[in-house]
Amino acid sequence: MKLDPFCAEQGGSGEPCAPSFLEILCDRGFRWLTFAAGGIVISLGLYIIFEIGSAAVPAMKDNGLGFFVSTTWDVARNEFGILAEIWGTLYSSLLALLLGGFFGVSIAIFFTQGYLNHRVAQVFRSIIQLLAAIPSVVYGLWGIYVVIPALRPVASWLNEHFGFIPFFGTKLSGPGLAPAVIVLAIMILPTVAAISQDAFKQIPYKVKEAAYGMGTTRREAIMLVMLPTAANGIMGALVLGFGRALGETMALAMLIGNANQISLSLFSPAKTLASLLASNFPEAGAVEVSALMYAAVALLIITVGVNALGAFIMSRSKRQEAI
């Protein structure tokens, strides 16, 4: 007996039936819940940007665009500029990227190209991922008590014998760029290694077969075929690692020396935007807080730009994969 095939009331008769009123209600409710969760996150982000931006407005009025080209940070005279911090942020992140990028990509090759037994590779991979779980402040302490003392003799030897090279132009008196960069490189290593590994794993098996079928040695297969094929993904990994390095705060504030200067020397102290914020906030007056907010806006623009670039490169590599 079929009355109305699209009516909800016929469940249980063995015939297909429409969802009940309750089921439809749950479906709607679930949809609103997901909308709400997404909406809250997005509006929170926008609110943070708005709040920082509006707090920065007085400093923007006082300092204008000169803020980005001045190296003075003088609370007594209310003169603020962040050129040295922008330099320190980009320079330290770039050096960390060179170091961490090289090791991260090498590790990804080592883990994915058949050098290791599958299970051993899994163990190593977990260990590398654990590096990401170590708190920033612990890295900072490790840097102070281990990296700086270990670096000091090396640095003074380099400065003595190769002092004419700008990179070794000064002595390492304690905290400075070199220890900060080394620690920063270790901190971005898990990001770079994990995303590069994904890039290598995304390479279809048939590409590997093609390479070895041509009679390549393992090195030739990796350098001539696998690396170029994974290049886009690796590029994305490097950009995202760079983004992490730009925003890193605690370990850098502890290690970089917080000196308001621009120097090429690896052993001189420097300052980054994030370390400026961390070290100056606690004792800042109203005018300085506004300047710090302005600096935060600058940092935000840099990191958002870099992360967007990384996401763009990654999405392009995924699209190429699909072809």
Binding site: E209, A210, G213, G215, T216, L224, Q320
Partner: protein, 281 residues
Amino acid sequence: MKNNMTKTTPLDAMEQTTGVPTEENQIAIDANIEAIYYGKFRAVRQSHVPIRKGEITGFIGPSGCGKSTVLRSLNRMNDLIPTFKMKGHVHFMGQDIYDPAIDPVVVRRHIGMVFQQPNPFAMSIYDNVAFGLKINRFKGDVNQRVEEALREAALWDEVKDKLHSSGLALSGGQQQRLCIARAIAPNPTVLLMDEPCSALDPIATRKVEKLMHELKKHYTVAIVTHNMQQAQRVADTTAFFSVDISDGERCGYLVEMGKTEELFEDPKQELTRKYIRGEFS
């Protein structure tokens, strides 16, 4: 192996040692397989598969009969699979390629391979074909050899104006011919083809089949095919493999091998006859 290498074509070199062609030196690869294992699983049992020089040898048989496995063991491609284990000997140019002293990399440079899925590298058409020349330290005119290989693969006219665009931008059939050009550019002795047309449409398939007749003038070819008509169209010799499920395991083996017309018209084994009639697949 290396000594033979220096001569122009290793096939000639083998004939020179004995003078007149005899039945024995008409064989390019002599595969005496006792068993092939993947881990504990025995995939192929006792099979003797001689690949005749200058001919096309077709491998046919139902799924799981080990025809691809046998083909891939002829140039040690199976070594990429960690659990692969080979018992037996595969003789090529007077050497057992499974001898521990032999580097599989060198074997694959002499015995090229074309795969089921077209798999050009993510680089230009030119660089794809020049790839093998580069790794084999080719000293001659690379441009000329690339053109020759593309002509031999019947692809030159279609790509000569866009040699530096990506190989991945070509159609499936063109990609497969690019892979053939890439495989033959470094002048291998033998070309193995593992179901080279199964991912192609009928028109592209015909082109590749036509091309195979040209290829056998310069190379010995062995081809796995799922398609009996294709074997009849291209192969001089056909090997029929089947799978034995009697002992509760699935083990492939060679049922019979012979001239293609003889095998299709008058098979010696009842099993072959049934397969050719289409009674199982």
